[in-house]
């Protein structure tokens, strides 16, 4: 098997066969490992697989040695593991690494997890992580009082506003659309109505971004099960095939080499993913874009090529991204309203898979066949675009 060619017409390919969240929101009585284990149990039941069949573990937390922590908790002895951490997109990277490992015969059933108690931890200890004062970030960013990541995305928003005339009300459209989707999702953390005016009245954090331009802080975890398309045909649910996936990586928290902060590597990942899937933007029915900050969605819509550079402000107006809108995205309610336990990548995939399976109840899109997920890592430091199909 060759992971560079997984289109339905050629090689057998790879499939996501199980997805689940753990408990979400405020979960003070569970650890990050327990949230991963809980999500893993649910994802395996969703797939119709047992723990004993898992032979690859791809775990991601803020702690050290996450794949060993999880394997011990689950009582399994996988023959392949990977805990690569490139920020919020890490679990999408794990999907690609799982495909490579399966293709190479190094594992067959890959369990991919994430878990965090960011909300409960935050309420227990208020001190943030101390950056090594010898690191590039510690010498050339932190001493200036820069808030990160929000400060960097605020700087991106300033660029977008200056270059294209985008307004705070345009940014607020993203948050309002997310909240309207969350109202249709029983799992979402914030479901009460939110208006453009509410967003504009929320406190400034890093200009021009306000509190409601920012993702939530919650506890929670998620799990995916990935295997070969051949194995997937004998499992419980309709397999969701990985049709295209591509990544690029550049910096850590010090993006001084990047010429234009509105021209990151998103476009390169999109081009490669579309080419691999052999489909076009018009073919995509479901779109899940990492919404850590409202401006991030506008930046991604443009760089993914769903609208022209500078046109996202018009593209998102009048509720076009929300329920009933012409361009529905982030149907779970996203990081802005469904939940955001530190890293959101896995939840983009969970929602895309559920949409393709037709499991989304009130928020279900009509008969979707193809989904696109896009996620960055850290501060436009890494990017991935993935296309899924049924």
């Amino acid at each position: 098997m060759n992971i560079s060619n997984t289109s339905a017409s050629s090689s057998p390919g790879f499939a996501i066969v199980g997805v689940a969240e753990s408990d979400l929101g405020k979960v003070p009585d569970k650890t990050a490992v327990e949230l991963q284990a809980q999500a893993a149990r649910r994802a395996l039941l969703d797939a119709g697989l047992t723990l004993q069949e898992v032979d690859g573990v791809f775990a991601h937390t803020d702690d050290r040695f996450p794949s060993l922590q999880l394997s011990e908790y689950l009582g399994i002895r996988p023959r392949y593991t990977d805990s690569t951490n490139v920020g919020g997109m890490s679990n999408l990277l794990h999907i690609r690494h799982a495909m490579a490992a399966i293709a190479a015969g190094m594992c067959e059933v890959a369990l991919i997890t994430y878990g965090s108690t960011q909300l409960s931890d935050g309420s227990r200890k208020l001190t943030a992580l101390v950056e090594d004062p010898r690191s590039p970030r510690g010498q050339f960013v932190v001493p200036h009082g820069h808030l990160s990541p929000i400060g960097y995305y605020a700087m991106v928003a300033q660029l977008h506003m200056q270059r294209y005339g985008t307004t705070s009300a345009d940014l607020a459209e993203i948050a309002v659309a997310a909240r309207r989707w969350a109202a249709l999702n029983p799992m979402a953390y914030r479901r009460e109505p939110l208006s453009i005016e509410d967003v504009l009245q929320s406190p400034l954090v890093a200009e021009p971004l306000r509190q409601r331009d920012c993702c939530l802080v919650t506890d929670g975890g998620g799990a995916l099960v990935v295997t070969s398309a051949a194995r997937a045909t004998s499992l419980k649910k309709r397999p969701v095939l990985v049709r295209g996936i591509a990544e690029r990586f550049s910096h850590h928290y010090t993006p001084f080499d990047l010429d234009d902060w509105l021209d990151t590597d998103v476009a390169a990942t999109a081009e490669q993913a579309f080419r691999m899937a052999d489909v076009t933007r018009k073919d995509i029915d479901v779109i899940q874009i990492y919404d850590h900050f409202t401006i991030g969605v506008m930046q991604s819509l443009e760089e993914l090529g769903f609208c022209a550079r500078g046109e996202s402000k018009d593209f998102v107006r009048n509720g076009r991204l929300g329920p009933g809108g012409a361009f529905p995205i982030n149907t779970s309610g996203g990081g802005l309203s469904y939940g955001h336990p530190g890293m959101f990548g896995i939840f983009l995939v969970i929602e895309a898979v559920r949409q393709l399976r037709g499991e989304c109840g009130e928020r279900q899109l009509p008969d979707p066949k193809l989904a696109l997920c896009h996620a960055p890592g850290l501060v436009f430091s890494a990017n991935t675009t993935m296309i899924l199909g049924v």
Binding site: P136, Q139, P143, H144, G145, M155, L204, V205, A206, E207
Partner: protein, 138 residues
């Protein structure tokens, strides 16, 4: 003064000269002696030609604001008394980008593309931090 609550840089071998210069109100940009490429921040070797023979060029300290934000929440205990404060990424006239806090005041005049000059804030006996000041408003 709350030094303990203020995160300060800890120079390494490759950045020592940079931080020693800021104490003398001079801004240095690392320059490769082999291929003349500039890089910021200073590194062990030139990323363009891999030469370890690197030196310094003295920056004019002038540049333009590439982008900025105004923080309404403090990033650390020390900055709490300074909220709101601006942090900018500046493209120096020499061509490299770097970050610095803007000097207090004139928040409404801060614009992308505004001309700035570097100034230095003495934060301890050993360290001065580069900051930026608007040229028009100063």
């Amino acid at each position: 003064m709350g030094i303990a609550q203020r995160p300060l840089p800890q120079p390494t071998g490759s950045t020592k000269a940079f931080w020693e210069a800021t104490r003398q109100d001079r801004l240095l940009v690392q320059k490769c002696n082999a291929c003349s490429t500039l890089q910021f921040y200073p590194r062990l070797f030139c990323r363009t030609c891999l030469s370890e023979d690197t030196g310094w060029m003295e920056s004019s300290g002038l540049g333009v604001i590439y982008t900025f934000t105004i923080n309404h929440r403090a990033a650390n205990e020390h900055m709490k008394e300074h909220v709101p404060y601006a942090v900018a990424v500046v493209t120096l006239d020499e061509g490299v980008k770097m970050m610095g806090a803007m000097v207090p005041g004139h928040l409404a005049s801060i614009r992308i593309g505004a001309r700035v000059k570097v100034v230095f804030e003495k934060v301890s006996d050993e360290l001065s931090l580069p900051r930026f000041e608007l040229l028009e408003a100063s």
